[in-house]
């Protein structure tokens, strides 16, 4: 007697129930903001997950058509409000690209410093929120405690804790205050010791692995097809990071910096020896790997912060003069993507000879990363939906713009 299955595509379910349609969100603790996901479920099994977005749409692109380039900087803070510095940089660089502007050395180091701190802060929130999605509250507090220190540093540098308006067209708004570098140094040293704690409560935890390993597996082809970028793409094993592979105007910032792109190549992660091992159950491209990539990137970013501080100390130049508020933009378009914490954040600016851009376009990384959600959730369980959303690390301010 043979027990071969007649049709390998056929999925056997428990006793079939009626399909239920469930709205996850727009107000739901597991959706990281005002995202609405329409789930089609059969009992606990998810047959389809359709994201509905736009609840946080604030017409950013339209607003951009009515402001000058520098006036638009504060609005970029509100895109990915967990990494405002990186958003500032994206817009500042694209305008500089159109203007053909080059910022002084010191401003570059300041930009790297701030953006990498922002990346750490953003990844900390991602780890925290993912833990929370899986019902683990304590790591949330640990992560936020550390993020709070970064936010304090930002506040000391620019006076604001969430919407910085710091990196601007032509440089940065202000030089660092006295004593800032020492505080940052102290943070780096102490944060380094917290990372093993986070690994202990999340990365290596058996339940955490059970909840995330082999859940929401995203193949590299699908990831590229859907335009997924950032940690989501790298977790699928694609070695791609704009800080290394991007356009010159962006990669020039990182000239002379040493860092590794965190992606699994040839079965291992760079520098993985210092971190918990990849569990057997995990598959490249699953939720666990997305989490792991972020944790490892945090360490890389910490290294970049240290290098940036050292090089900032050494540089003598002024830290750049912001362009006039009414700086006229030349005719033509410029498009630039930068490696923001959530993925590749693209800005396009179309100039028509006046100070106000003709058109502003924002290519959001979370927008593309979210579009793959229905692909990842289908066939999983209801509980996996939150795990997958958490691992995609979306920010609705950026998705809806």
């Amino acid at each position: 007697m043979s027990f071969e299955r007649i049709d390998p595509d056929l999925v056997e379910l428990d006793v079939g129930m009626d399909e239920i349609l469930i709205n996850v969100g727009p107000q739901h603790p597991g959706t990281h903001g005002v995202l609405r996901v329409l789930l089609r479920t059969d009992g606990e099994l998810v047959l389809g997950a359709e994201p509905y977005i736009g609840y946080l749409h604030r017409c950013k692109e339209k607003i951009g058509e009515n402001l000058t380039a520098r006036q638009f900087i504060p609005y970029t803070d509100r895109l990915d409000y967990l990494a405002g510095m990186n958003m500032n940089l994206g817009w500042a660089l694209v305008v500089e690209k159109l203007l053909g502007l080059e910022v002084p050395e010191k401003a570059k180091h300041l930009r790297v410093l701030m953006c990498e701190l922002g990346r750490i802060a953003s990844h900390l929130v991602a780890a925290a929120a993912m833990g929370l999605d899986l019902g683990s509250v304590t790591p949330f507090m640990y992560c936020f405690r550390e993020r709070e220190r970064i936010v304090d540093l930002f506040e000391a540098a620019c006076g604001s804790r969430l919407t910085y308006n710091y990196i601007t067209v032509g440089g940065v708004m202000a030089d660092l205050p006295a004593g800032w570098l020492e505080r940052c140094e102290a943070f780096c040293n102490e944060f380094e010791q917290v990372i093993p704690e986070l690994h202990a409560v999340l990365t290596g935890n058996a339940i955490f692995i059970g909840r995330t390993a082999a859940i929401g597996v995203l193949s590299p082809e699908t990831a590229i097809d859907f335009g997924c970028t950032g940690p989501v793409l790298r977790a699928s094993g694609v070695d791609w990071d704009l800080r290394r592979d991007g356009e010159p105007i962006y990669t020039r910032l990182y000239d002379g910096y040493e860092f590794r792109v965190i992606a699994e190549t040839e079965g291992t992660y760079p520098g993985a020896k210092r971190h918990p091992p990849v569990p057997q159950a995990a598959v490249v491209g699953d939720s666990w790997h997305r989490f792991y990539v972020r944790m490892l990137e945090t360490v890389e970013s910490l290294g970049l912060v240290r290098q940036a501080m050292a090089r900032y100390r050494d540089s003598e130049s002024p830290c750049g003069e912001p362009v006039k508020l009414t700086q006229k933009l030349p005719k033509g378009e410029a498009y630039l993507e930068t490696e923001a914490p959530k993925g590749q954040m693209g800005f396009m600016v179309v100039g028509n000879g006046t100070a106000v851009p003709w058109r502003v376009r924002i290519r959001s990384s979370s927008f593309s990363n979210l579009s793959v959600l229905s692909e990842l959730c289908r066939g999983g369980l209801v509980a996996d939906v939150t795990a997958v959303i958490g691992s995609l690390d979306i920010v609705l301010g950026e998705v809806d713009r």
């Binding site: 749409h57 690209k97 590229i224």
Partner: protein
């Protein structure tokens, strides 16, 4: 591969369906005719030495100046432009495809211009085309599910068109 070579390949393959190009611009671009867009995209994606496997962004830009005085200075006829930002993760080259569309289909105000969808080439295009449809008012033919994405389903008008006037009320709520 630089924009020059890509342009050469495309000219060789598609001839006059490649309308224009500016390879010296900040971002080199190549303009193709709307009808041949999917074909060009498939070629760019699948050609072994090109392999533009990632579509980054689709943007709609409305070239329309309501003020007649300034309209005369612009130097262009009112039109709608679509920009497709492509790149290859294999060869690390980039390209901007442009498509020029009339602002209204057949010049009839209110009839959205049409362009073939490329959602079957890159699935990124699915949501991006919905967004362009929603905000800029371009109809993508052959799109699996072309409906609004950021604005509510019953929203009227396409906000990123230059002649758009925001409504005073939405469902009985003052919005201005």
């Amino acid at each position: 591969m630089d924009a020059q070579t890509i342009h050469g390949r495309l000219l060789e393959r598609f001839g006059e369906r490649i309308r224009a190009a500016d390879l010296e611009a900040v971002d080199p671009w190549i303009e193709v005719s709307a009808a041949s867009l999917p074909e060009v995209c498939l070629y760019l994606r699948d050609r072994l030495e090109l392999r533009f496997n990632m579509l980054h962004c689709i943007s709609g830009v409305d070239y329309f100046e309501g003020d007649p005085q300034r309209s005369a200075e612009t130097g262009w006829q009112p039109h709608m432009q679509l920009l497709y930002h492509l790149s290859s993760l294999v060869y690390r080259h980039r390209l901007v495809l442009k498509v020029r569309l009339p602002r209204w289909k057949d010049g009839v105000a209110g009839e959205l211009p049409e362009v073939p969808s490329v959602a079957h080439v890159w699935r990124t295009a699915d949501w991006h085309e919905r967004e362009v449809f929603d905000l800029s008012g371009v109809r993508f033919t052959g799109h699996p599910e072309l409906r609004r994405i950021l604005c509510p389903d019953d929203w009227e008008g396409h906000p990123l068109r230059k002649d758009y006037r925001a409504p005073d009320e939405y469902q009985g709520i003052r919005v201005r």
